[in-house]
Amino acid sequence: MSDTHSNTAAYVRDTMLPQKAPPSSQVGAVRWVRENLFSGPLNTTLTVLGVLAVYYLVANMGPWLRNSIWNANSLSECREILAGASGACWGVIKDRWHQLLFGFYPQDAYWRPVLTFVLMIVAAAPILFEQVPRKLLWFSAIFPGVAFFILWGGSVWFPVFVMMGFVVGYAAYIALQRVSGLVATIGALAVPVIWWVFLAGPIGDLFATIIPIELPHIASDEFGGFMISIIIGVTGIALSLPLGILLALGRQSDMPLVKWICVGFIEFIRGVPLITLLFTASLLLNYFLPPGTSFDIVLRVIIMVTLFAAAYMAEVVRGGFAALPRGQYEAADSLGLDYWKAQRLILLPQALKISIPGIVNTFIGLFKDTTLVVFIGILDPIGLSTAIRADSDWNGLFWELYAFIALCFFIFCYGMSRYSQYLEGKLKTDHR
């Protein structure tokens, strides 16, 4: 057939045509714009509105940012330099950054919070990233005592002997293990308590008189600014996760009494605003403690914030437990693991992995909630911004202060949420 065909047709192409480039509206930027910005009437309207919004923002914010003034010692000086033009007066940040960061902490001791912050990063590194040498975890373990000593000062022996309580407890556990497992557990709980209540104080005082190593003591009411936010936030974060896990386990428990007490606690804390708990800490705690005792307001706030975040944490972790298939529980049982081993080796790792986003959201919420301490008289950044604005030099200025505070919070919180996404990606084991 082909022969006849070749004879009848005048011309037959025996090579393929070279491929043509796609039409200009189907490639590159033009195609992207057509598909993403102008694919229909609704989309076009949205694009126009979006561009208008961006233009409005730039047109209003642009001059204000462009005319930024850093070298001014008061708002009136700023206004003189600007001569009626719109412009940001960042002089206030330059003038008062140390207050916003450290509150009324003594100026010559600023190295102490800075050093603590650096050490905090070192202590957090092995917990956050597994590439960091594991031995650094020992430093993470002693960091709370180190931080307390550097920030508050006083004798070095007090935090040392408080931290020693854990060592004493561990030693008691090892020593009593020969007697029986139960006695060892009770001993590991009871001996540190005895140590803290009766021995740590006197021995600390004794050592303080023999070998006085100490930093000047700085009282809590001189703390302020982002320093206090970070102290409360980080301590709350570190304490609320274990407490929240315990509460979640309690709520999951088969023992009705434990379960209902945990449920009652969680629902009570979740039902009231944090502000009422903080007021309780500042107004009512004196009623609940033995007459004559009073303890540090920062410590009270940390306790309340921790309890508050722990209740939310418990619900997040419970969600993780609920998402585990029943088979995991049954597998743990069939392997003959006891309750704590099953939790530690099989259930908790999976439940925590599922609830990472929720846990980090709770952390971020806790860190943002530290701003509420301003209502009970602790000068956090927002409280200090009010104090700075009350100064006659900076009276009438607010955007620059609020922008600075918002930026600092944004960096912390956004950093945490990015880390949670990194962790989620790293721990992802299913291939979906």
């Binding site: 910005l37 989309n43 949205l46 605003p273 009422t276 009512l284 971020i364 927002i382």
Partner: protein, 417 residues
């Protein structure tokens, strides 16, 4: 081959309380209860000792005493001669009115932002991402203060509206004036008012009760009409035309009632240096409302986005394969499934709004915390009682919201066997 093993002797030994799992949980619970009771008793005992030392007692009779302070926003009758209990109620209503309005607007903003963030329009989705991240990562308290600063420092003073060439002008044809003292709106007035009903602690306007009843009745009538139409459609295959009937049922009764009561609007007018007449909303309320709306809206946007993303694309493909148009796909297939994912976190956002209204302290809005937990507490010096009542009120409020929303959640939940 009788291989019967000896059954363990069932006699009870004391060590079984610890080593036998049947009894161990009882032991643990008893120890736990003992410790909790001891701790609790320690707190109560301390409190009693401390109270006795200060010469105080626990007494709620202060609630019946004259309050002696003014509240600048009140939904029920209140004056400084009213009792503390009424102040408590006024504060509670202020909290509720802020929370309800903020919940509604935050839901609207959140749904819009969440859907737009998924849009394939690059500019819009990026703008929405910026909005969400900006509000989620900055404390609510800062947003409240910022919105309050915008309202009090940027908006014009009332006298800017004065004169031949005023520097500021009212919106919507002399109806709304946004000033640094607050926003002035037209107020609804009734020529033939129906009077008020006394419910003990406060008076209720029967006008609004009647309007509410009529609106509820109209909606119930509308739903009955729709149900009838569905029944007819299922029987005959044809849906009867209902739009004019439903328009009549929804609009006519309320118009008739409003006309019968002589409804008209009173506009705020500039007199001297300030506006008078009309309705007036304080800046503190508006700042709280805007901050709660945009802050919680950002969280709801994320919930909505997660809910829509949780529905597998096979669902919409199946709907298209069945020949459903995009809007019907959204309404009949995607949204009902996404709602199940969205509602539980939405409940906790509503609870958060309710609890976050207590931040009104920052701008001086007279909410529950400011009346009962603020001025009443300071005036009477009854911290313990006031804080207990305050926490209890918030607790009841939260439990009611979560209860109501859980009922709704159960009604849309996937019904599994």
């Amino acid at each position: 081959m009788a291989m019967t093993s000896d059954t363990p002797s069932s006699s009870f030994r004391l060590s079984m309380l610890i080593y036998d799992t049947r009894y161990r949980s009882i032991t643990i619970q008893i120890v736990f209860l003992f410790l909790i009771t001891m701790g609790f008793w320690w707190l109560v005992d301390n409190t009693l000792v401390n109270l006795a030392e200060k010469g105080k007692d626990i007494d709620f009779s202060f609630l019946g005493a004259r309050a002696g302070y003014d509240i600048n926003q009140r939904l029920v009758d209140y004056s400084s001669d009213s009792i503390h209990a009424t102040a408590w109620l006024v504060g509670l209503l202020n909290t509720i009115v802020l929370a309800v309005v903020a919940c509604i607007s935050a839901t609207v903003i959140g749904v819009i932002a969440g859907v737009l963030r998924l849009s394939n329009n690059w500019i819009v989705s990026k703008l929405m991402s910026i909005y969400v991240e900006m509000f989620r990562n900055v404390p609510l308290l800062l947003w409240i203060i910022v919105f309050f600063a915008v309202l009090t420092e940027v908006t014009p003073a009332p006298n800017a509206f004065r004169g031949e060439n005023p520097t500021a002008s009212m919106l919507f044809g002399d109806a709304v004036a946004i000033t640094n003292r607050g926003t002035y709106l037209p107020a609804p007035l009734f020529d033939r008012s129906l009077g008020q009903i006394d419910i003990g602690v406060a008076h209720l306007s029967s006008n609004y009760l009647v309007i509410l009843a009529v609106i509820i009745g109209s909606i119930m009538g509308y739903r009955a009409l729709q149900r009838r139409a569905t029944v007819v459609q299922e029987a005959t295959g044809l849906r009867p035309t209902t739009w004019w009937k439903s328009a009549l049922i929804l609009i006519a009764p309320i118009v008739v009632v409003l006309m019968a009561m002589g409804f008209h609007l009173e506009y705020a007018t500039l007199q001297g240096f300030n506006f008078s007449g009309g309705g007036y909303i304080r800046n503190s309320y508006i700042a709280m409302w805007l901050a709660l709306t945009f802050y919680t809206g950002a969280f709801i946007a994320e919930n909505v986005r997660a809910g829509i993303l949780a529905i597998s694309s096979g669902q919409s493909e199946a709907a298209f394969a069945l020949g459903l148009r995009p809007n019907r796909t959204m309404n009949l297939v995607i949204l009902p499934q996404a709602l199940r994912v969205i509602i539980p976190p939405l409940i906790s956002q509503y609870l958060n709004i309710t609890k976050n209204t207590s931040l009104a302290l920052a701008v001086g809005y007279m909410d529950l915390r400011a009346t009962l937990g603020g001025i009443t507490l300071n005036q009477t010096g009854r911290e313990l009682e006031c804080m207990m009542l305050l926490m209890l009120t918030y607790l009841v409020l939260s439990l009611m919201i979560s209860g109501a929303m859980n009922i709704y959640n159960n009604s849309v939940k996937l019904k599994e066997r």
